[in-house]
Symmetry: C2
Subunit: 306 residues, 2 copies
Amino acid sequence: MSQVYDRVALIGLGLIASSMFWAIKRAGLAGEVTGYARSAETREIARKIGLCDRVCDSAQEAAKGADLVVLCVPVGAMGAVAADIVPVLKPGATVSDVGSVKRHVIEAVSPHIPDGVHFIPAHPLAGTEHSGPESGFAELFDNRWNLLVPVKGSDPDAVARLRALWEGMGANVDEMDADHHDLVLAVTSHAPHLIAYTMVGVADDLRRVTDSEVIKYSAAGFRDFTRIAASDPTMWRDVFLTNKDATLEILGRFTEELFALQRAIRTGDGEQLFDYFTRTRAIRRGIIDAGQDTDAPDFGRGKTTS
Amino acid sequence: MSQVYDRVALIGLGLIASSMFWAIKRAGLAGEVTGYARSAETREIARKIGLCDRVCDSAQEAAKGADLVVLCVPVGAMGAVAADIVPVLKPGATVSDVGSVKRHVIEAVSPHIPDGVHFIPAHPLAGTEHSGPESGFAELFDNRWNLLVPVKGSDPDAVARLRALWEGMGANVDEMDADHHDLVLAVTSHAPHLIAYTMVGVADDLRRVTDSEVIKYSAAGFRDFTRIAASDPTMWRDVFLTNKDATLEILGRFTEELFALQRAIRTGDGEQLFDYFTRTRAIRRGIIDAGQDTDAPDFGRGKTTS
């Protein structure tokens, strides 16, 4: 793979940024990668583990002279970080991000972008329940989707170049408009996360079932929810606050359906339950056929935890 | 490991029974294991793959002369199967089951058990999203919990022997009363399953987001729900119909909490969301420390699906 950018700057050094660094290095996609994190401790760790060619002590220092600056901070911090770095951006540079919400990021960042700089929002649909500079790995984006959400008047060459970077990191790339993105993600990610957080919270609250029982007997299904509910709290707070409308709409649909199934349980309508549970099996099959999950029982973890 | 029973009969040959067979063989826990499944096709497959030492064409034939008969059928079918086999049970034999609900199974099976036969309900907290005679494997119960739910007046020697069998198959064994079991399982298994089924159904229903989008972009969290929602529909229909009260109670608690979090989203209360999401992380830590799940990111599947 050949070099796509001379200099890439990663602002924020968590799971996504650290995975980007290792994936860029794996394929030789950039000449130099600079990095910045707000926390001195994170910068210290990054220097120790060789994360980024150069770890800088300010966002401006990292962004100065970069051909691509990627904002890898929680969605609620994007606007302030963009405002901070614009004075040092070089003409023709591209600013992108990796936020899980796109309409809000566009509204927060766009006003700061000067003429002659390209802003191309993006969202890699990849992650794990771990966070921080040590959680990244080069394979995170392999065969995962990255959604580019070009704003009105985006330069086609700049979009093509960003696409080449992501493809070089192993991702498949699609383009989508911001509102549709936020709705799709409310379904495939934001609502499921809130539901998982809620179920884990309920278990923790219940006085007649002890925490140790919940933990010991979690293999019956619950532990899958706890993985999702272990995701980064700051990131997810921001997601819900900034994708409010779509998330609340999907949660409303969810509650409606849940009430219908609760009613079927209460009235003993086994046929309705059976039909519903049969239909949902097909979706799983589709996900496996599309290469988006493993067919191994229990995600293949059965043998690793025994 | 030495032999615990001369003859074990498995009635129903799905995921749990087939895993029991391989686990019993791995440790040499029984002299002969007979098996029966209602479907001729399942019996045919069992014979072909060597599942059970002897596959019988009736439940009575399989149960006749057995020291232990394990009912491995959906919870709703337990009573009828018990009624069918009692005439051939030998004095001193033990009848057990593997159903996910215990109060209902006790009420359905106990009246059929003759004097001189021991009935010891049990529930191994282990499974995968796969079902059928070919889905079993010897390691399924390793380090998983099995809950014994002895009924009033259970013979201590018979309970100890059943415990030895499960420990020989790799499980940890606890005892619990039926009502508490049904409440704990409503939290750790039944409510999470209904919630996962519901979320997958909502995604499938949504006209403005296509099924192919749901499938392509599922890695953002949703795909974990689809694994659970791919579980056996008959088994789960019966679970909800027979553990109605506890499941509805937990779902009521869940809805209450979900509404509180939805309200925090609507009013923009980031602090409440952040605190909630921080608390739920601790439970995950407990599950990993207790050896009930892997700490590998994404259950370790990241590298297998890429």
